[in-house]
Amino acid sequence: MAQEADFKCLRCGHQFKLPFDPKGPMVERACPKCLSNSVRRMKEEKKK
């Protein structure tokens, strides 16, 4: 099963989970709420 990671939309602020494979090819990501591509992965320290 694909790993998931936390992402945050830098447009609307929505936080959500998406499949994420650090070693896999880069994929186009979009915020499920506002469809923006300014989607940033939240690393552990950022979540805190």
């Binding site: 830098l10 447009r11 090819p25 186009e28 923006s36 591509n37 300014s38």
Partner: protein, 618 residues
């Protein structure tokens, strides 16, 4: 195909695979693996004595498994060259207790069980990719009962059954009882136009193939009752509508609706299907003797290896992407590579032949030229600044940079192969690579001009030439309204947007910076925009570390057809711009006041090294 085989200036390498490709347009070096046939194709005269005596029988792939072939066989009756081939996985001849019967009967002694694959090196000027297609396997669609019910077949299997050269010599019969069916159904869009199962795209050829099949069937068997279940019929080509009309006039019933279930009568092996006729709105039951699934087209399974060998790009569907859908529909993004047929997208014979002709003509231009003209927009390396770190080589989607880290040979751009995305320039950590017509200085000057006055009122937008800038253009011609505060800086690819450009814009007081490019599947420079995303992600971290809100740097993928999206994003940028305070901008300017460009840093380092060397010499 025979003409091609006999042509004195065409070297036909059948049963061969591409192993390696290097070089660039006009100067490709290609290594081909010519797989062992175990039969000398030059000596074999296809007398078939070997075929007759071979004791092995396996399903014949060409006949869709409706008949068998031998271990020594011809792949299809009109195969070129007309010579036999041994499938060693089926053959008993290689066994220590050998069969060897074919070897005994071959008068010309052209069978060699120990034959090996050969490697052929070729120098070619252009490459045409015509790797064809695969067809969808409908086994996963349980409701249609393919493989569960013998009388449910695919359109490919139908072709073999109705073909005069097929296993039934053209006598169309049911697989279960070898009787001519009285009722035959066709289901359209099997594996096509579905986002859940199969593929979302239209396979282009299935509607006309079914219409042709129904006309053929009606001509041979006028009494057969034929029903076609469809979503909509796409008969858009020359004379296609006529054929559709002929089919309907011949008595073929077209029912708009796709069956939800197929059930088999275990005694008669007849089929019952339930379908909602969307024209009448009623659920109908139909009894059929045979059902043909009109299966869709898939990209070739080996597409990934061809993509890698030729540095091509593929769309989300898996088909190879052309350089430009309107202006360069047969050109690959890699110069000197062209597409023909279904390798690029599903198409019928006529379109495939047209595209093949166009590809041959495009290749001919290169082959006839002593010199070729290339776009002036290519990267250029300052050799004094280059440290041969190879980062540019890794970033280049076309691998058109020659550099050797070990021998410290500075990077050199192969102009003929460079497509001008500028990713190498953006990735170079020493400012050694820039791009003609889109130099660092030119882009910086644009940023300065934008932010020279009323910086708080403006958002800086980097837009790639092919998609985002096209989206802006489309928004304009569509008369879509959006706030006028955005200032667009065009680059050929978003991959060109150096992190320094973004930081420089913030340093000069930009409240918002947007980096926009093509969607991943549409990137006109293979995968250059993946580097953009990577770079923006790094910048978000960097800005945050500096105490700058990462939200002020935005990323968006906008295609040339998305004028509406462009206008929407511009409105959103304006909303975000309004929320940026003057204090924030001043803080950012202050945080970036000591920003030194990588080129300046490298120059300082070179000057220091030089001074050190001079001192040591003294």
């Amino acid at each position: 195909m025979m003409d091609v085989g006999r042509h004195p200036r065409i070297k036909l390498l059948t049963y061969s695979e591409l192993e390696e490709v290097s070089g660039y347009v006009g100067n490709f070096k290609v290594k081909v693996r010519k797989k062992a046939r175990y039969v000398d194709e030059n000596e074999c005269n296809a007398c078939a004595e070997c075929f007759k005596i071979c004791p092995v029988a396996v399903p014949d792939e060409f006949q869709q498994g409706f008949s068998s072939r031998k271990a020594i066989y011809m792949q299809l009756p009109q195969a070129v060259p007309s010579a036999y081939i041994i499938n060693m996985e089926d053959c008993l001849g290689n066994n220590p207790i050998a069969c060897g019967k074919c070897l005994e009967v071959c008068d010309k002694k052209c069978i060699d069980y120990d034959a090996q694959d050969q490697f052929i090196d070729l120098e070619v000027g252009a490459i045409i990719v015509a790797t064809g297609m695969d067809v969808y396997d409908p086994t996963e669609l349980d409701e249609y009962g393919y493989r569960s019910f013998e009388n449910v077949i695919t359109s490919m299997e139908f072709e073999r059954l109705i073909c005069a050269g097929g296993p039934m010599q053209g006598h169309f019969t049911r697989p279960t009882d070898q009787e001519t069916p009285k009722t035959v159904g066709f289901i359209q869009c099997v594996g096509s136009r579905s986002t859940k199962r199969g593929n979302p795209y239209c396979s282009n050829i299935c509607c006309m193939n079914t219409i042709k099949d129904t006309v053929l069937l009606k001509e041979h068997y006028p009494d057969i009752d034929i029903k076609v279940f469809y979503m909509d019929i796409r008969a858009f080509g020359k004379a296609f509508e006529d054929l559709f009309r002929r089919s309907k006039e011949a008595g073929v019933k077209y029912i708009r609706g796709l069956p939800g279930e197929v059930v088999e009568d275990p005694k008669t092996k007849g089929l019952k299907i339930s379908v909602e006729n969307t024209t009448t709105g009623e659920v109908e039951q139909h009894e059929l003797d045979m059902l043909v699934l009109s299966v869709g087209v898939l990209p070739r399974q080996d597409g990934a290896s061809i993509q890698k060998l030729l540095t091509l790009s593929r769309t989300a569907d898996g088909f190879f992407m052309e350089s430009h859908p309107k202006l360069k529909p047969v050109d690959a993004p890699t110069k000197g590579v062209y597409f023909a047929g279904c390798a690029e997208f599903p198409k019928d014979v006529k379109d495939s032949v047209t595209q093949a002709g166009a590809a041959a003509a495009r290749a001919e231009i290169i082959l006839n030229a002593d010199r070729i003209k290339v776009e002036a927009i290519t990267s250029v390396v300052d050799k004094d600044m280059c440290t041969a770190c190879e980062i540019c080589y890794r970033a280049c989607p076309y691998k058109c940079i020659e550099v050797d880290r070990e021998s410290k040979t500075p990077a050199q751009i192969i102009d003929a192969a460079c497509a001008g995305c500028g990713t190498c320039g953006a990735e170079c950590p020493f400012g050694a690579v820039t791009m003609r017509h889109f130099t660092d200085d030119q882009i910086m000057a644009q940023i300065e001009a934008i932010l020279d006055e009323d910086n708080m009122e403006k958002a800086v937008v980097f837009a790639c030439n092919w998609c985002s800038y096209g989206g802006a253009d489309f928004a304009g011609v569509s008369r879509l309204q959006y706030p006028p505060n955005q200032r667009i800086i065009r680059t050929m690819c978003s991959g060109r947007v150096d992190e320094e450009f973004v930081l420089y814009a913030f340093k000069l007081g930009a409240p918002i910076v947007l980096v926009s490019g093509c969607h991943f599947a549409d990137c006109h420079y293979i995968d250059a925009n993946r580097w953009t995303q990577k770079r923006v992600e790094k910048l978000w971290d960097k800005l945050e570390r500096m105490g700058v809100r990462p939200e002020r740097l935005q990323l968006e993928w906008i295609s040339a057809a998305e004028g509406q999206k462009f206008a929407k994003v511009m409105k959103e940028m304006e909303e975000m711009r309004k929320k940026v305070t003057k204090e924030e901008v001043e803080f950012t300017k202050n945080a970036l006041k000591d920003l030194k460009f990588k080129k300046a840093k490298r120059l300082a380092k070179l000057a220091a090294d030089k001074a050190k060397a001079e001192k040591a010499a003294v």
